[in-house]
């Protein structure tokens, strides 16, 4: 049911963007970013999926034209993307802590000293 994966991934991306746009709490904004990122990861991993394929782990001698495995490149990309996602979360949460200390609130509508 690979189609379900695609639907789910775009649903997650849309949900993440919806969260970022509508929620006024900084922590929820960060959660929105993570959800959108998970959606992108799910999309990546689904793209490389071949129904019935095995894990793409071979030595040169084992590899022959009849080998049938899932595409390893999206898996590598997904790993990279997960690491980056973790960094985004860590860094944005660090900023949220500092912002809360400085502004005394986590409401985005009150954190707007820079405007106009």
């Amino acid at each position: 049911m690979i189609l379900l994966n695609y639907i789910a991934s775009f649903f997650l991306i849309a949900l993440g963007l919806y969260t970022i746009v509508t929620k006024h709490n900084l922590v929820k904004t960060v959660i929105g970013l993570s959800i959108a990122d998970y959606g992108a990861n799910l999309l990546l991993i689904s793209i490389g999926f071949n129904p019935g394929g095995t894990a793409p782990i071979y030595t040169w001698t084992e590899l022959n034209p009849s080998s049938f495995f899932v595409d390893p490149i999206p898996q590598a990309l997904t790993l990279t993307s997960i690491v980056i996602g973790a960094c985004v979360t860590a860094m944005s949460l660090a900023l949220v802590i500092k912002l809360e200390e400085q502004y005394g609130t986590t409401d985005t509508r009150e954190i707007r000293r820079l405007r106009g």
């Binding site: 991306i13 999309l43 990309l77 990279t80 980056i84 944005s92 707007r112 820079l114």
Partner: protein, 638 residues
């Protein structure tokens, strides 16, 4: 390709130029406790990177060679790229050159400028990461590699924006930048994934071979995602508020990086996307998209700049306004247009870097960038003043400085396009570009008046000239501004023209990587004749600009007088400038020189002020709306 390449061959220089920066970042993180060690390491790595890039000028720019470099020697197998590649054509090298020069000057400046900050080690580590990220982005030949570099540079830029986290708004700016920047990065990732799903390759050259002519709904959506993603990196409308926030809060040396280097990476991405991957620039509608977004950025940002009271925030809006010129010119898809856009991109880095460094020098000595609190610094900081004026003249497009040469080419290109295509809309673009130039000049009259001339406030009596290292950095930029302005012929024929030619040589770009380019039209027949700048008629244009600027000042002062006569909103602080009386240290408020102009346009400014609300949700909403619009556009048009 020969399997054994001498390690000193210039084929390896692109990867060296990227590696020395990341290696420098790593070594500083490890050994950077000592100030001397840190400075030496930082200077060494930026100098080495610059040297490697300069050494590539001869083979790539002049020789017209395209360097195809497969990391680990993993050349394509069975017609498919399996390794990560670097591909350096004249366009990549052109942007790499801009990056290397800006990084070098900014690094030299940082040594004195950041001396009084804590955590210098972290600063240099992040600084070199940012530099390496952009360098890696422009030299990369692989779409996913570009995404990684985008993330590296976004992260470093966010961290550096928040570097002085006690300064007003630094954290706030960093958070907004992170949120919208990450929406952009996610867009790039999803776009990359969708292209991979369709073409099963991430190599730019191979994508350029496979995509055109085989577009379906998925690739069209991917185009929109990538366009918006690179748009967030270039800060074009509607992402300009982030640039303003980030510039205002970041240290000046980082502002140079953000405005001179980061925005260029976005422009580079857009050029690669539209001219190479999808090759859609011959469509009139696609030209319209770029020119429209560019003109919008040009105009909105210059008017926003007029309303600013903060030195660096004002410069930030001007920066995006100039990026609008670049995008407009590139979007014309003519030889002259692309040359003009690239020339202006280079000049933008030079003069904007100079202006930000001058603003940094003012901040360093006075502790403020509020235009209302500054004044009369020309007596205390004469060198900085002269350097600032060079930058201000350049950005306003006054001959013989470089801004004039490139802006003139932009006017010429838009006008030529209007004549050739018979489309009156491009003439309108010429007019918008001219008006923007006038408003830029007007705005810099205001800045010079309120920062460097006028009365010196009592609090600033102790101010001294900045140290030699900082003046040296500004001097390099100023010298380059003058040189590129005095010799536009040399610049166009040796630097921008090869780069512009590369933009139109998609087939060479594909075949250099060993792929079949027979499906792509050979080098588009583009005439580079008449790509010049010095024409007598230009003086007429200068006259027009000067007259318009005078008109604006006159209108502004007239409205002030009227309002004062009628007794409406009388404020004594305006009296000195227009009436010539009153207290010793009173002066025109920095943001108030064009008070009448703003009053006249108050509907527009009120509207803009409400739009730039400063709430991160609104900016995210703009990003989503922009994405939706571009997606709709590309589904209909492509």
């Amino acid at each position: 390709m020969s399997p054994v390449i001498n390690a000193l061959s210039y084929q390896h220089f692109p990867i060296y130029a990227i590696m020395v920066l990341f290696l420098g970042a790593f070594l500083i993180a490890v050994f950077g406790r000592n100030r001397t060690a840190r400075n030496v390491l930082a200077l060494l790595s930026i100098t080495a990177s610059l040297a490697f890039i300069l050494a590539l000028i001869r083979p790539v720019m002049l020789g017209g060679e395209i360097i195809a470099y497969w990391l680990g020697g993993r050349v394509p197998a069975g017609g498919y790229a399996i390794g990560i590649a670097l591909e350096v054509d004249a366009l990549s090298l052109f942007f790499a050159l801009i990056v290397a020069v800006a990084v070098f000057v900014s690094g030299v400046y940082s040594i004195q400028y950041m001396r009084h900050d804590d955590n210098e080690r972290e600063y240099y580590t992040l600084f070199l990461m940012l530099a390496g990220g952009v360098m890696g982005l422009v030299l990369s030949g692989d779409l996913f590699n570009m995404f990684i570099m985008v993330e590296v540079l976004t992260f470093a830029a966010v961290a550096l924006t928040a570097f002085r986290n006690t300064a007003t708004g630094a954290l706030e700016a960093a958070f907004k930048y992170l949120v919208v920047g990450c929406i952009g990065s996610t867009c790039i990732l999803v776009g990359t994934a969708m292209l991979y799903a369709q073409a099963h390759t991430l190599n730019l050259a191979q994508l350029a071979q496979l995509l055109p002519g085989n577009l379906n709904t998925a690739t069209k959506v991917a185009f929109a995602l990538l366009f918006v993603g690179f748009g967030t990196k270039a800060f074009i409308v509607p992402f300009h508020p982030l640039a303003a926030d980030a510039h205002g809060a970041a240290p000046a040396s980082i502002s140079v990086m953000i405005s001179g280097v980061l925005t260029k990476s976005g422009i580079y991405g857009i050029i690669r996307l539209t001219y190479f991957l999808f090759q859609t620039m011959n469509l009139g509608t696609m030209q319209f998209l770029l020119v429209f977004v560019g003109s919008l950025s040009m105009f909105i940002c210059v008017t926003m700049a007029l309303a600013q009271h903060d030195f660096k925030r004002l410069l930030a809006f001007h920066s995006i306004s100039q990026i609008g010129y670049v995008l407009t010119a590139v979007g014309l898809c003519t030889a002259l247009g692309v040359s003009a856009g690239l020339y202006h991109a280079m000049n933008h880095t030079l003069f904007k870097g100079l202006l930000f460094l001058a603003a940094g020098a003012v901040l360093h000595e006075t502790g403020t960038t509020d235009l209302g609190k500054l004044g009369g610094l020309s007596k205390k900081m004469p060198h900085t003043t002269v350097l600032f004026l060079i930058g201000a003249f350049s950005i306003s497009g006054i001959p013989p400085f470089n801004g004039f040469a490139s802006k003139w080419m932009v006017y010429q290109a838009t006008y030529q396009k209007a004549v050739e295509s018979g489309n009156i809309g491009f003439l309108l673009v010429t007019i918008i570009a001219l008006v923007t130039s006038v408003l830029t000049l007007a705005s810099f009259v205001k800045v010079s008046q309120s920062v460097f001339f006028g009365q010196l406030p009592k609090e600033l009596e102790h101010v001294k000239e900045v140290s030699f290292g900082m003046r040296l950095a500004m001097g390099i930029f100023a010298l380059l501004c003058i040189l590129t302005g005095l010799f536009p012929g040399l610049v166009t024929s040796y630097i921008t023209e090869p780069a512009a030619r590369a933009v139109f040589s998609v087939a060479q770009y594909i075949s250099a990587m060993g792929f079949d380019a027979s499906g792509v039209a050979a080098e588009s027949v583009v005439s580079f004749a008449h790509v010049g700048v010095w024409e007598p008629i230009s003086w007429l244009l200068i006259l027009c600009i000067a007259l318009l600027a005078i008109t604006i000042v006159a209108v502004a002062s007239k409205y002030d007088n009227v309002s004062q006569r009628s007794g409406e909103a009388v404020d004594t602080k305006y009296e000195l400038f227009y009436g010539g009386e009153a207290q010793e240290f009173s002066q025109v408020g920095g943001g108030d020189l064009f008070w009448g102009f703003k009053h006249n346009w108050r509907g527009y400014f009120d509207f803009m002020y409400r739009l730039h609300s400063g709430v991160v949700n609104d900016y995210a909403l703009w990003a989503v709306v922009d994405l939706a619009l571009v997606m709709l556009f590309s589904l209909i048009v492509l």
